[in-house]
Symmetry: C2
Subunit: 224 residues, 2 copies
DNA sequence: GATCGCCTCCACCTTTTGGGGGAGACCAGA
DNA sequence: TCTGGTCTCCCCCAAAAGGTGGAGGCGATC
């Protein structure tokens, strides 16, 4: 049985969603809340599996409440944001807060039920338009590299390896150590790859590596 | 009426999907293809609105075919990848190729129909597990910056400006020119910011800028 | 067998970089 | 007023980086 909580400041809307869900044999609405504060408290007490969360609410908005509930961590629940509009910032904040779903209130009842089951099952569910935006942003971030990646192909294997280590912020000496070669050799490779790529120095090489996707933000544990 | 093409090398599977879709009053299966090559040709001739594309096929795989069909551009169609497995690389390549959907073949028939309508409607549809991964990667990419961004706050305004230009791959002389100050001053700022951030050289500064979100891939027009 | 590309190193040289001071001007706050 | 922080610039110096040219070994290809 899926334990669901519905959070919305409009009691009527809240009841509507609750009724739709309670109508399902495998879903039980165990709590309702009308503000973010109430939601946090109710989540703590009732430990729902899924929370349907409105964004605009008095006292504390749904995104803030989501972040706090998920941060608390003693709850293993998942949150689906349920809103009327879908402005970009909300989506962004919601995903960052840890929401597993983001759907619009005009969603058909069956789809809402499906979204609840999907998220309970470990998946994520976004409104189609949002999925589309997420994809395009994702592709943009990693897709710049096309023409740049071609330049990469002009490098030899070893040169690409050296470039990869350069993009870690390593010095020539460190690269030599990492690749088990002499630092003179590293210098040769560096000079060669800079020349082939039309770059001036290793700083530009780092930029290049990030831009073409050889290096990616979020992979490095930067103590540096 | 939605014009759909089904591409799969297994005729039985292909017919199955085609029958499910043709059964809908607003959907018409206008073509079928068994290889990537056939798909490209059929897409050109029949101009479907939606293409359901398998990945593993002889002659040319579905991702390659997708890329070529969408590159051709004279077609305004949208592609939904339909596969048995969902290895990361496939998803990645598919989105990059321009697919608007990525669903698994074990999807319930109604959900497939819904996916077709959703994508035809301009949205995107991913399998829940993939949506989840996409979100987590997205959040990771943009979320790394928190602890790093704190380090950024220790810098003065000018130092942050200098760091921003450094992360463009500029030399001290170029930075001086860009900020209308002497190169001696630039050196002072660079030394100071490296020291404050615990970095050794400008290459590491570039890495830092990307990792903390000060610089972002896909914003630079790299002639460098 | 000769050629070519790649990897490995060397030496020599210039430029850039980064560190260590110091100094004057400016501004905000104690 | 004085202090502290910031921005601006200076000098000197050592280390690193980058360019140039050369060399030997090695595998693939012609």
């Amino acid at each position: 049985m899926l334990r669901v909580m519905v959070v919305d400041d409009q009691a009527l809307v809240r009841r509507g969603f609750a009724l739709v869900l309670d109508n399902e044999p495998d879903i039980e609405v165990v709590a309702e809340a009308g503000t973010g504060i109430e939601a946090i408290e109710a989540a703590r007490q009732r430990q729902p599996d899924i929370i349907l969360m409105d964004i605009r609410m008095p006292e504390m908005d749904g995104l803030e409440a989501t972040a706090r509930i998920l941060e608390a961590g003693d709850a293993t629940c998942r949150v689906i944001i349920l809103t009327t509009f879908d402005p970009d910032e909300y989506v962004f904040r919601a995903l960052r807060a840890g929401a597993s779903g983001f759907v619009l209130k005009d969603i058909p009842p069956e789809a809402l039920v499906e979204a609840v089951r999907t998220v309970a099952d470990g998946g994520a569910m976004l409104a189609p338009a949002i999925t589309k935006r997420l994809i395009s942003q994702f592709v943009q971030k990693l897709g710049t590299g096309r023409n740049l990646a071609e330049r990469l192909e002009r490098l030899t294997t070893r040169e690409r390896e050296v470039l990869a280590v350069i993009s870690d912020g390593k010095s020539n000496a460190e690269i030599a150590e990492a690749l088990f070669i002499g630092s003179a050799t590293v210098k040769t490779h560096v000079s060669s790859l800079l020349s082939k790529l039309g770059l001036r120095d290793r700083a530009q090489a780092v930029v290049f590596a990030y831009e073409c996707g050889l290096a990616t933000a979020g992979e490095r544990d930067i103590g540096l």
